[in-house]
Symmetry: none
DNA sequence: GATTAACCGAGACGGTACGTCACGTCTTTAA
DNA sequence: TTAAAGACGTGACGTACCGTCTCGGTTAATC
């Protein structure tokens, strides 16, 4: 995914167990490159990230990077995916409470990450690079999963009308938060989330 | 705004008619530069925009650009502002109808502009450059004005509970649209807007 | 010669029939590599020749080439030697006529080969690589043999004073031709050769 | 000459004294670049010369070099030309003696320069690059001038038959020396020169 | 009318990063 | 052990922009 498509699974192989000829890619390189990428991004953002720098820090040739990722954004995305674990919300049997728990964790994450330039940069890159576009979509989808699960549970419970399009619901919940973060630069805190939930859940 | 503050109009001048010594700036340069900027952005997006290119296209020295704008983002922002006129929605006496009208126009604009990289780029630039940050905020504020007006009218009319934080309301309405545009890449059309309004206005 | 000395014939072997263990080298590889080398050199000169390209064209791994030749110059030299056959001049009993015949053939060869970059490249390579130096010297020596033979015959005949250092004579004859070819880029044709022989043989 | 043709004389200018617009090239850059080039070549030959290295040593951007010279060979040639002064031989009224003096100096130069790779490299480069070809021809022509002068004097004096093509004579004298230097690697010393002159001047 | 100061075009300048290419070596499976 | 394939670290390539800096020349207001 966003990886340069070379070492794909042997779809057309005659035998069940086949191998690509030639020297296989060294997994330690992947590790080193991803680690170096995260380091540099954390230090100076995506702007401070150059392929030269990653190569130098990882002790790796530039070609070794380009062999695996087609752009630095694809690289950053993969590094990011490997680094973040999904937000987990237990089943409280109460939609509002679960959403508050979810957003509390989200608030914390945003707070700790500062005003990173990673997401904006990836969004921009996705405009030009279809591969990044796809990877970013996938990344977003993964990160939305917990929220989708919360809503699904609420539907089954009857806390949420079955008429509601859950995808749109997700967007209505997350959209304003992202909007604040990216555009207005407003504070993302409990009062904001409460007002947001008030507005969106008032129908229930 | 975002203009390099050197030759601004003499707002605080002691004398009614004062002038800076030396040759005054040529207004035709401003025009040529902004026009060239819009051309290039429309052709190749902000990525295809370099100061060298703008200077060449406008038939202008690079210094003439740097004398007026501190960065290419400030330049793009000003070019953009000069180019877009605000969405206008008449007073129908009906919140839902006014919002639908507003979003219809928004949909049309998004459709005609394709998937431009301008906004993402500015968002990213705003991460590093405080001046761009301020200009972008101002730009957003301007573009939100019609929506704010719609909500204010509704409040006065009683269509909207006075408890509702109108700023948050704006964010809840616009956020999901921006979210789709920037992140999920989903379609921004009438069905989407209808579902969005259903969700947000259901309390009313 | 210039071959990587690993699998040479067992000249000093104790037993009449001995064999190295392991898989023997495939002679078809030598052929394919040399052929590919000549092809590429003829198409794009030595500049267009990379080991990667030779390997790809010959359908051979790079290691298979490095196992046999220590450098691409050694490879080119061997390919060249296999490709060129010595100039042959019959005994006319007349030094001047024999030399003219020799140079006629030389002119023809130069004409047909265009202004190849092979010799210049090898000369340069010989500056850094002692092995190439030796191989090139050997190659030159081989190609001078017919000329040396002509001069020896002339000496025996008495057409050439025994005081003359035949090696220097060779250099005086060939030097100017090479000089033109490599440095001044002047035409190498019959009038030039005639003037050259007039000058050098005027003593006789 | 071999210079990137940008700052040529104003052939088509209306006025006798015209100037190119824009900031003029900085002559100190030329100096610094040529000096750095000579340094590096003397240390590690042309192989050790990279544009990056020259730029670094000269404290100059790479573009500043590429703006002036189209290739590193053109650069080396100009550096060389600026560095070498012509061999000077007084009028002794005796062809043989003058030639011996000339070659003595030539021997000394070769001896002091070691077995440089500069000339071989330039010869090879001249195969691909017409500009280098022209510059090299010009360089050779300049360096031959003293020898041509010697022969002209001899002609006027009557020491040299007017039938002799002086250009060919130059090639017959210099060719063998170059041939030794480049190809056979033989010693270039007084005995060799004496034999050479014996052969070539025996007609006189 | 001369001076002065900021403007203008053009383009050179020191940098930084780019993505590609070839090098010669190493690591895999298979013969 | 050789073979094909190809990954590996290295290092140079030539290009594109960056933002700054000289140039000669222009255009007003001030002296």
């Amino acid at each position: 995914m966003a990886r340069t498509a070379t070492a794909q699974s042997a779809t057309t192989a005659d035998l069940p167990i086949s191998r690509k000829p030639g020297r296989p890619r060294d997994a330690r390189c992947d590790q080193a490159i991803l680690a170096a990428t995260l380091d540099i991004v954390r230090e100076g953002g995506v702007v401070g990230l150059s392929i030269d720098a990653v190569a130098a820090r990882a002790g790796v040739g530039k070609a070794t990077i380009y062999r695996r990722w087609s752009s630095k954004e694809a690289l950053v995305l993969e590094a990011l995916q490997a680094d973040t674990e999904p937000i987990d919300v237990p089943d409280y049997g109460n939609l509002r409470r679960e959403l508050e728990t979810y957003f509390d964790q989200l608030i914390e994450r945003f707070a700790s990450s500062g005003s990173s330039d990673v997401l904006p940069h990836l969004i921009e890159a996705a405009c030009y690079d279809a591969e990044v576009r796809a990877s970013l979509d996938e990344y977003i989808k993964q990160r939305q999963k917990p929220l989708v699960a919360i809503l699904r549970r609420a539907s089954q419970r009857g806390d949420l009308s079955p008429d509601v399009d859950r995808n749109v619901m997700v967007e209505v919940l997350v959209g304003p938060v992202i909007y604040r973060r990216l555009l207005t630069g407003g504070r993302i805190d409990r009062p904001f989330v409460r007002k947001l939930l008030d507005l969106v859940l008032s129908a229930g």
